[in-house]
Symmetry: C2
Subunit: 283 residues, 2 copies
C-alpha cells in the first residue's frame, strides 16, 4: 500500500485537531520522534520508545504505556509499506502559566506522512551543505532531547532557498559544530570517526547512536568531542545521519568541497544491515 | 460581567481546537501576548500589537491585520470587565520539516481567561523569590521575542513547589541575571534603576519598556546592563514587572532579604496612572 496523504491520530483516535490549550502549543512542552516506516514496519521502534520515554521524564510528562503506543502505531500504519511516522507526546492541557497544573495527562499525536522522495544521489554521491549563521543556544537541561522548541532549526532553515543545498550545519556560540538542522554530523580524520559532543545543545539522534555502536563493533576509533570549523574543513570524510536519510555523505560545506570516503561507504552498508535485520518491532 | 471560564477564538471563530499540523505545535513557530483586561479594555493594546508584529517579522510569519485582531479582541472581550487576553499567532500549517512550505497563512488564537486573583500583599508588601538552577541559553536571534519556545521557563517553574515563593529568577550561563520565569527584573542601587540587558536572551516585556520610559520622564538615572548575583544581593530595591502583576516588590531572593523602597513605590503609582489614562485602545 502506498501512502499519498497524511493521516493523524490524536490519543489513539483518528482526528487532526488538538485543544488550543495544549501545553505542546503554548510552550512547546513535549517531545517527538520521527520514525521511518519501511517494509511495513517502524524501524528502530524500541530505540525511539526509549528516547521518547527519557525525554518525557526530563520534561515532567508522565510516562506513557509503550504497548499502547505500539498498538496505535500498528493501527495507523495499517499495511503501509513506506512512510514516516511522527509521534508527538505533549504535557496535555493544564492552566495558564508555566507551571503544569490540574490534570497530569498527556496528549499523544501520531501522524503518518508519505515517504520523502530524496534523490538516490544524496546517499550515493553525497550532498552539498552550508554553515548557518544562527548559533545554537546552550542549554544542558534540554540538550539531547528531541523536544518541541525548535525555533532555532526553523530560523536556520530559513537562511537558504537553494534546493541544491540539502542541509545547513549549526554551531554553538563558541563556533563548535553541533549538528545539522535535521541531522547529526560525523567526520573522519586520519581514520578516527568523530561527532560533536551534545551535552550542551543538539539532539541525540537514533542513527547517531547506532553509528557509534557500529564503529565500536568494527574496532573503529571514535570520539565524541568538540569540533571547530577548521577541523571540519580539514576532515577526510564528512557525513550526516538521521532516521529517514540514513547516511548522506557531504561533498561540500559552503565553498569547501570534500569527497565521499571508504568509512562512510562502509558505515552505509552496516547501517542498512541493522535496519533490514532488526528485532521484531513490537516487544 | 465577571468571567469564570476561558473562552477561545481560533481565526476569529469561537472554537477551542487547532490542527495537529500547526507549526505552533510542531516547532513552537509563533509568538504570543498576554494582555490585561481591566475596566473592560485591553491595557497597552498598541504596544502589544507592535511587539507581536515585530516578533512575527523576525520569525517569518506574515504580518497580520491589526484592525482584524482588534475587532476579534472586542468580540471575545464582549463586556468582560477584568480578565486576561492571551493572543497567539503561529505560522499555521505547512508540510513536515523545518522549512515553512505551502500556504503562507498564520493561525490566530485568542483565549480569554479569568483574572488571576493575586493577593493584594504581593504588590503592597512584596514577594519572595528564588534563584533558579536552570540557566537560559543565549540566542540573539530569538532574544527579546515572546515566542512559543518556552521550555526553559517550564523547567524553571518545575524547580519549586512552595506557594510562598512567587517567582524564580533566571540567569544565563555566565551567571548574569536575565529575568523571572514570567516577569522582568529591575533593581535600584544608589539611586540608579537597572534592568538586565536582553540582547542575548529573555523577553522584552511591555511593562519593562514603560518603566524605562517613566524613569526617563522622571529624570531617574537608568541603565540596561549586565547584573550579576552579587549586584542583585547588594541592591537597595528589587522588583518584578509584567502586564498582569504590574510591579511586585521583591522582599527575598532565597535566604537574602530586602525591602520595598521609595523608588519602587513611586514607579507603582506612575505605572497605575499610565494604565488608567491610556489612549483609546482601538487605533
Amino acid at each position: 500500500m502506498t501512502l499519498t496523504m497524511a493521516a493523524t491520530y490524536v490519543n489513539g483516535v483518528p482526528g487532526d485537531v488538538i485543544p488550543a490549550s495544549d501545553r505542546g502549543l503554548l510552550y512547546g512542552h513535549g517531545v517527538f520522534e520521527t520514525i521511518a516506516i519501511r517494509n511495513g514496519r517502524p524501524e528502530h521502534w524500541l530505540r525511539h520508545m526509549t528516547r521518547l520515554h527519557a525525554g518525557c521524564t526530563r520534561l515532567g510528562i508522565q510516562p506513557f504505556e509503550p504497548a499502547l503506543l505500539a498498538a496505535e502505531a500498528e493501527s495507523i500504519i495499517n499495511g503501509t509499506d513506506e512512510g514516516v511516522l511522527k509521534l508527538i507526546v505533549t504535557r496535555g492541557s493544564g492552566g495558564r502559566g508555566y507551571r503544569a497544573a490540574g490534570s497530569t495527562g498527556c496528549t499523544r499525536i501520531m501522524q503518518l506522512h508519505p515517504w520523502p522522495e530524496y534523490p538516490a544521489s544524496c546517499a550515493e554521491e553525497g550532498v552539498k551543505t552550508r554553515l548557518c549563521d544562527i548559533r545554537l543556544g546552550r542549554n544542558p537541561a534540554l540538550a539531547g532531547i528531541k523536544h518541541l522548541n525548535r525555533l532555532e532549526q526553523v530560523l536556520a532553515r530559513q537562511e537558504w532557498n537553494d534546493a541544491d543545498i540539502r542541509e545547513g550545519l549549526l554551531m554553538d556560540a563558541d563556533g563548535n559544530l553541533v549538528e545539522g538542522t535535521m541531522s547529526n554530523l560525523f567526520m573522519v580524520s586520519n581514520g578516527v570517526l568523530m561527532t560533536p559532543d551534545l551535552s550542551r545543545c543538539g539532539v541525540a539522534g537514533i542513527v547517531r547512536t547506532i553509528i557509534l555502536e557500529l564503529a565500536e563493533q568494527q574496532g573503529l576509533d571514535s570520539r565524541i568531542t568538540h569540533i571547530g570549523q577548521e577541523a571540519l574543513f580539514e576532515a577526510d570524510e564528512v557525513f550526516l545521519t538521521n532516521s529517514l536519510i540514513g547516511i548522506w555523505p557531504v561533498i561540500a560545506v559552503g565553498e569547501t568541497t570534500c569527497r565521499k570516503g571508504d568509512i562512510t561507504t562502509q558505515l552505509q552498508g552496516l547501517l542498512a544491515d541493522t535496519t533490514n535485520s532488526g528485532p521484531a518491532w513490537r516487544a
